[in-house]
């Protein structure tokens, strides 16, 4: 079981949600949109590279646009391990939630 920080978990979820369109800038935008606070691109990059090192996401280069001055993006996708890790987290959370009677 991989230990994931909150930020890592959030970004991993975002990458999964963004489906084939997750790269540094878009992730930081999505983060802002969903979480309601800004995050610097460099922070996103650091987290992404950490996740990649842990084998939770993989990346490939592609999709240059003129906005980027013709530079390619590094597109991230969640790997099987990553999805499993997310599922495990979700499951363990749900187990916890289910123990709280007030809300169930």
């Amino acid at each position: 079981m991989h230990s994931l920080g909150t930020l890592e978990e959030t970004i991993l979820l975002l990458v999964l949600a963004m489906n084939e369109d997750a790269y540094g800038f878009s992730v930081s935008e999505a983060y802002r949109e969903h979480m309601g606070k800004t995050i610097s691109i460099s922070a996103v990059h650091t987290v992404l590279s950490r996740l990649e090192k842990k084998g939770l996401i993989s990346s490939q280069l592609g999709g240059a646009t003129s906005e980027r001055g013709g530079r390619r993006k590094r597109i991230f996708t969640v790997t099987g391990v990553g999805e499993q890790a997310l599922a495990e987290i979700k499951a363990s959370r749900q187990k916890l939630w289910s123990r709280i009677p007030r809300l169930s």
């Binding site: 790269y23 540094g24 800038f25 610097s40 691109i41 460099s42 990059h45 980027r68 530079r71 390619r72």
Partner: protein, 887 residues
């Protein structure tokens, strides 16, 4: 509409620090963010945030070096492999390069060792900076030794008068004096030492009566015996290591040699200790130290060591103020001009003083060697650069390939530099081998004693490695820069041929001209020195120097006996006492004509026998008076006569019969003042001293029978000198039993006067040859390269009808022009340097311009040969073969 751009400098900064693997995505993301913000927030905000973003990336995650460190080791490994492959692949260039580097650097190493040896003279003495020798300025000369109060007639206590006085000063920490026998004041000559019924010859005894002080100031390393015990008593001997080896064999340490009695000059001495030999670069040395109450001399070399707080100049002022306390009457004597101090480290370089112990070094020669070493280094560097350029030209495609595959300029430059450095470092073991083989021969040539161990000391090895790395770096720098910054496409195809600069004024031609210039200059200088040496050797000295043998003899009585015996040897033509020419300058005295006022102070006095005049075949008309029965005559040489006659205002010959007064300041009962001599005649000038000095005024007393004799000459007409010397020796041994027979030829003695010049000339000649060979090797490499690069041009020329000869001529022309330029530059500089060197000789040649031209011509011939050999191959290839090749 133009797309909005983020601030350039920030993006450049990112470019600089960011890892290349991450750069593209990061830059893309930042620019995209910038673009969006530009739309939503406006330009100013967008720019500001862009800058903030860039700086938030300035952290280890994005740093280039972080990712580089990981790759560094395998990359370096790969580069070294490629470097070795290339070195081996270009065998021809590598060989030229390596041989040039090995020979050249070895020469530089030897010169550096020699310079280090000379410049560290006496610096092994502890506190040498505070150690001084006292010297005495008397008349116009400075004596390196301090006289004893009663000269020869001083007892031990009197001899130590000065030292006792010196030690009273609080500033003086230590003081000592000594006299080595192999000096002008030590009497020279050799001694017999009798030990265990055996007889040994002794060459250099160090006499002292202040053993403890000597050891204090110049600490000796005791191998055997105890310093306190050995130095306390008189009549004791302290042997040097090499002498004990000679006397007692290799295993002297195991024998019981302490306490043995040795008889020297019929007096008994006890061996008390054995010390290490004096270092070769010490200004004095000895075979043994002899402690005796009375030093058999009239003066001694005197040294002091000051304590830290005191300044030598202040101390010397004090000492000179007190001088009458230890030299009574010193201040009244107008001829005494004060006591001076020479710092210990300067002794080896002070050449204008009387009676120095060892031959001193000429700083001009040392700096000349340093300059020549630098010239060789320059030639090596230019060669190496030229050859590297040539070598890499072949590899343009390889470099282009690397660049296409993603190598950056600095990667390519790094690779090329690494190769240059690797080749240089590969030469290290060869250089060490060559140098250690050459060192003994070099020592012999230069009269130095540099131990081979010096070469392998940590500091020399370190310096040598640094020098080689520097050589690699400097030589690799130009090609590395040129090739690494060239546009990738130009490295392929036609662009490769594009010249960077003009055809004639380019880097390579500049280097070649510099080499030619250095070589022509060096050749000319070597020839000037050779000419001057020839000039000196062939010059008529005014006496017969051939076939004359000289040796020392103790006293007139033994001389007369030996002379009679030598008369029986048929080959012996003449025998003479005293006046052996070719001595060092010695003390001069004042003289004047009795009837004029002007006193001259440059007189050299000589006492010789009539038979010596005959042996040297001097022209002496006045000597008839001796044959007519006069016991002694007084003559002056023409130089003295002309000086005196000019003062008096008469012709020199008119001085004959007049009275000359020597040492007029000396008051005495016999003459009132000075010594009065009637001039009996004038003798033609003959070169009694080195030709470095102008003719000296000689005041010569010629005796029918010499009253005192310490050296004599034998002239013989013989086919077999070794036989004759044997005969002379057996005659000598029957007369003299206390001193060994040490014969030498007069011609050798005269040559020895110019030994340091001759040595320097030889060394320069050798270095000159090395420089020429290196330069020619470099040239050969360059021509081979050019011929290779121009093979198509040559092919086309041949197709169009050019002959091999005309193609060769084109090559010659180009280098001929460079050589011409070099010669034009070399003429004034060589002539200037030569005439400066020649001012050291009173008698010298005039440096001629044709020597430089001749040197240029010699180099030209070599150049033509080298070019013809190298380019001929290219020029004689069938043109189609060349033109068919694609490229």
């Amino acid at each position: 509409m133009n797309k909005p751009q983020p601030p350039r400098w920030a993006s450049r900064f990112l470019d600089w620090f960011c890892d290349e693997a991450l750069l593209e995505e990061i830059q893309g993301d930042l620019e995209e963010a910038f673009y969006h913000r530009y739309q939503s927030l406006g330009p100013q905000q967008a720019r500001q945030q862009y800058i903030t973003d860039v700086f938030t990336f300035f952290k280890p995650y994005a740093f280039e070096k972080y990712s580089r460190v990981k790759q560094f080791v395998p990359m370096l490994d790969h580069r070294i492999k490629i470097a070795l492959r290339n070195i081996l692949h270009h065998k021809r260039f590598t060989f030229i390069n390596a041989v040039g580097l090995i020979v050249g650097v070895s020469a530089i190493v030897l010169i550096s060792l020699y310079l280090n040896y000379e410049y560290t003279f006496d610096k092994m003495v502890p506190k040498y900076e505070r150690t001084y020798r006292l010297v005495n300025h008397y008349r116009d000369q400075v004596y390196t030794c301090m006289k004893f109060p009663g000269y020869y007639n001083s007892e031990g206590d009197d001899q130590m008068n000065l030292l006792r006085h010196l030690k009273n000063y609080p500033a003086v920490e230590k003081a000592c004096h000594f006299v080595p026998t192999q000096t002008a004041i030590g009497g020279g000559g050799r001694f017999f030492a009798n030990l265990d019924e055996q007889q040994f010859e002794l060459e250099n005894i160090l006499f002292t009566n202040t053993g403890t002080d000597l050891h204090d100031l110049f600490p000796q390393r005791f191998l055997l015996g105890d310093p306190g015990d050995a130095l306390a008593d008189y009549s004791s001997l302290i042997l040097s290591e090499s002498l004990s080896e000679r006397w007692f064999g290799e295993d002297w340490a195991k024998r019981r040699i302490l306490g043995k009695e040795v008889r020297i000059m019929d007096e008994p001495f006890i061996i008390k200790a054995v010390v290490e030999d004096a270092p070769a670069n010490s200004h004095f040395d000895f075979e043994l130290i002899l402690l005796q109450k009375d030093i058999p001399s009239w003066a001694a070399y005197t040294y002091i060591q000051l304590d830290e707080k005191n300044d030598i100049e202040q101390f010397m002022q004090q000492l000179n103020a007190d001088v009458d306390l230890f030299y009574p009457g010193y201040t009244e004597d107008v001829l005494s001009k004060g006591i001076q101090a020479v710092s210990l480290a300067d002794i080896h370089f002070t050449d204008d003083m009387l009676y120095e112990i060892k031959e001193v070094a000429n700083k001009n020669y040392l700096s000349t060697f340093a300059i020549v070493a630098l010239i060789i280094l320059l030639i090596i560097w230019t060669n190496y650069t030229n050859l590297s350029v040539a070598m890499y030209a072949d590899r343009q495609r390889e470099i282009g390939m690397r660049k296409v595959l993603g190598a950056r300029s600095q990667d390519v430059a790094g690779q090329l530099l690494l190769e240059a450095v690797a080749l240089a470092l590969l030469c290290l073991p060869f250089i060490l081998t060559l140098t250690s083989f050459a060192l003994p021969a070099f020592n012999e040539l230069m009269g130095s004693k540099i131990p081979t161990g010096q070469l392998f000391s940590i500091s020399s090895l370190l310096l040598l490695t640094l020098l080689l790395m520097l050589t690699g770096l400097i030589s690799g720098l130009y090609p590395a820069l040129v090739y690494s910054w060239r546009k990738t496409l130009h490295l392929f195809g036609q662009g490769a041929e594009k010249r960077l600069v003009s055809r004639y004024f380019n880097f390579r031609n500049g280097l070649i001209t510099l080499q030619f210039f250095l070589v022509v200059g060096l050749l000319s200088m070597t020839y000037f020195i050779y000419q001057q040496m020839q000039f000196i050797q062939q010059r008529d000295l005014g006496f017969t120097k051939e076939d004359v043998l000289y040796f020392e003899i103790d006293g007139a009585e033994k001389y007369e006996q030996l002379k009679t015996q030598l008369g029986a040897i048929p080959e012996v033509q003449a025998v003479g006492a005293g006046g052996v020419p070719g001595s060092d300058m010695y003390n001069q005295l004042t003289y004047k004509m009795k009837d004029t006022e002007v006193t001259l102070s440059d007189g050299t006095q000589q006492y010789i026998g009539l038979d010596a005049v005959r042996t040297l075949a001097l022209d002496c008309p006045a000597c008839e008076k001796l044959e007519a029965g006069k016991e002694r005559i007084f003559v002056i040489n023409r130089t003295a006569a002309e000086k005196l006659a000019k003062i008096k205002g008469v012709a020199p010959e008119e001085l004959i019969g007049d009275i000359l007064v020597t040492e007029p300041e000396w008051e005495n009962e016999e003459y009132g003042y000075g010594v009065h001599e009637t001039i009996d005649g004038i003798i033609d000038d003959y070169k009694y001293f080195s030709l470095k000095y102008p003719n000296q005024s000689l005041l010569i007393s010629i005796y029918r029978q010499s009253p005192w004799v310490y050296e004599m000459m034998v002239r013989a007409n013989t086919q077999d000198w070794s036989e004759t010397i044997k005969d002379v020796k057996s005659a000598y041994s029957s007369v003299e039993t206390e001193r060994p027979f040490v014969p030498n030829f007069l011609e050798d003695r005269l040559n020895q006067l110019y030994e340091s010049e001759a040595r320097s000339g030889k060394l320069l000649a050798i270095l000159g040859i090395i420089a020429i060979v290196l330069a020619m090797m470099g040239l050969a490499g360059v021509v081979a390269f050019l011929a290779y690069r121009r093979q198509k041009e040559i092919g086309i020329r041949k197709v169009l009808g050019a002959s091999v000869g005309s193609i060769l001529l084109r090559f010659q022309q180009e280098f001929g022009l460079l050589l011409l330029l070099a010669v034009v530059l070399a003429i004034p500089i060589s002539l200037l340097l030569a005439s400066r060197w020649l001012t050291g000789f009173a008698y010298h040649i005039q440096p001629q311009i044709w020597v430089v031209l001749g040197a240029g011509l010699a180099v030209l011939i070599l150049v033509v040969i080298v070019i013809s050999v190298q380019a001929h191959r290219a020029a004689s290839r069938p043109p189609m073969e060349v033109l068919r090749v694609n490229g």
